[in-house]
Subunit: 349 residues, 2 copies
DNA sequence: GTTAGCACTCGGACAAAATGAGTGCTAACA
DNA sequence: TGTTAGCACTCATTTTGTCCGAGTGCTAAC
């Protein structure tokens, strides 16, 4: 037995209906819902087949059918094109976004936080967005300056204008000239290098040149190492975690707690961040149910997209919702946001 | 009718019992629970009085009594001294904290995040902690440097070592000498000043001296204004929002959603941040039920404490839990944390 | 002032009954 | 051979009724 066109149509009708209502859908409903002009009895026969094929399942005897993960997958991969965002709605969203985008584009952090919030509000699902990660963090600029007695400020700018600050306490102050020398030394020795490239050789060479300021040089190197190491840099913004309460299948206490905890402990979301941005389609990936890398989200679907602010500087946007989420709308929205983010800085130049 | 000693004892017993069990407590229980040697009937009479006085109430006829907000208030203000943290437990907590404190004290942000997490874990309530606010933000140090073609980095250090960075795009680069001059100009003009003190006079004077670099000077001033203005600086870390699911009276969908949303939208918590740290007792304040400034928390109690990292640099710690929270333990814990935070930096110097 | 006794209230738990959506199967039909 | 009407059956949900017990308020006696 295999999926003929009629079965496809019926499956599609089931999924559509279930996405809308969230209720198991019965044969009678489909018999009217479609333009196939088939009686409920016939539909029942076909449904039995679809169940045997694994595309739908029954929560219990004498209930309607709901799509299985496999059914959703087929839908997402093959059947989804038809519907599209209502034009009016899209217009409205575009306006919203432009507003946000024009607002404070100079602060990436604010922009991304706003983005997350907007996504959550617009979709009624939970949204996450990771701050851009530089694939290979490179030092672009280092500056050491005296702020106060016994306190130095070390500013490190990485490729992609990621700025790190560190206050370093020193035993004795150094004069301006030495400071200048040190700055030149740091910049000439470390600029353009990744963490791996700052190897022992360079460090010992620097130590040699730093002369008496060994202690400071060591502190600076530590700061650089800290700034540059990728782990610490993972920053994730989330919004709309409480949207899950809108979906009864997710909002019983234990599930809700688990999900929201996952959102609170943002580290747990890191496995959703794409390392490679070679996604199937525009860098957009759809995880359905058990497919998701985060186990606590096994009752959800997750859709992620990768954006690229500047060459080599990319992050991930994710939408988490119930399995019966509006895949088309979310994919469209993510595509749009992705495009916007992709062009924010590129356009400006 | 007024509160004699016996009524006090009975009220105290009711509250203690309710804090432990979370169930309405009946006359029979109290009759045994206390060492008053009174029959349940007598207790009932007293309870009727206590109810009339407004210290306790009945969820419904034929249920036991639970404390009213007024009852809790009396308890917190007058009856609480007796119990104290178990010594063993306290020791354990102290150890935990020391561990956290010793870990990465150099990064205030990390420290506070860890603190919040620890508080939430230790108390089983939700915790919030506001990053230190400087009462009157003063500029301590400004540095402008060239990072790349057409890109300047402006670093602003405020009193209390709060560091702000801003990338400024410029039309044409400036030579090293001018840069040096500008830096000296900024530092000599702005250091030690608050936002109010940087008035139009100074700005126009600076404009005069900046000469051709007017555009840059303006950008820098903007950056300073942004860095220094208090609103943007409000940073609040939260943890353990999902702990509320541990208390049935808070964990039905709608209440939980409201509470967790409040935690997510951290701005909503700002009214809990104390502007003046002149609290009643050690800067610790207890809000019970309707007393709390955040309306969504009317079914909760909130306890806040103010800490002071350095002279004039303070923030607020808050614990949010059910009204039947363990007030003594929370107050003790907050006091302890407050002391720790108060001394972290002061000790070091 | 305290206590024992008793009638009364009311929420919660439990079980039986009613409801109804939906199925699977069979037999008839085109 | 595919389609359909009809019917018995299943099972989650809702409704209804009953019971139970914790706890109260009141009264009368101590």
């Amino acid at each position: 037995m295999e999926l003929d066109e009629r079965k496809m149509k019926i499956l599609q009708a089931i999924i559509r209906n279930y996405l809308e209502t969230g209720e198991p859908v019965g044969s009678r409903t489909i018999s009217k819902y479609t333009d196939l002009n088939l009686s409920s009895a016939t539909i029942r026969n076909e449904m039995a087949d679809l169940e045997e094929l694994g595309y739908i399942l029954q929560p219990h005897t004498s209930a309607g059918r709901i799509p299985s993960d496999k059914g959703y997958r087929l839908y997402v991969d093959n059947m989804m094109k038809a519907k599209a965002l209502e034009l009016a709605e899209k217009e409205k969203e575009v306006d919203n976004m432009r507003e946000f985008l024009n607002d404070k584009v100079d602060k990436v952090e604010t922009l991304l936080k706003n983005m997350a919030k907007m996504l959550a509000t617009n979709t009624d699902y939970a949204a996450m967005i990771s701050a851009p990660q530089v694939h290979k963090n490179k030092v672009k600029f280092i500056q050491l300056s005296q702020v106060e007695n016994h306190q130095m400020l070390c500013v490190i700018v990485l490729e992609g204008n990621i700025i790190k600050n560190k206050i370093i306490n020193v035993k004795e102050d150094i004069d301006n000239e030495t400071l200048l020398k040190l700055n030149i030394l740091f910049n000439s020795s470390l600029n353009g290098l990744t963490l791996e490239e700052i190897n022992l050789g360079i460090i010992s060479k620097m130590n040699g040149q730093a002369g008496e300021q060994l202690e400071i040089a060591r502190s600076v190197l530590d700061a650089v190492a800290e700034a540059i190491s990728a782990e610490d840099n993972l920053e994730i913004y989330t919004s709309g975690a409480t949207n899950i309460f809108k979906y009864p299948e997710l909002s019983d206490s234990s599930k809700a707690k688990e999900l929201i905890s996952t959102f609170e402990e943002k580290q747990l979301l890191s496995s959703l961040i794409e390392k490679d941005n070679e996604g199937s389609d525009n860098g957009i990936k759809v995880y359905i149910g058990e497919e998701t890398p985060v186990h606590t989200m096994k009752d959800c679907s997750v859709i992620t997209a990768t954006y690229e602010l500047e060459e080599g500087v990319h992050g991930t946007i994710g939408i988490i919702g119930p399995k019966r989420m509006d895949y088309e709308k979310v994919v469209d929205t993510l595509k749009y946001i992705k495009d916007q983010l992709d062009s924010v800085y590129k356009k400006k130049e």
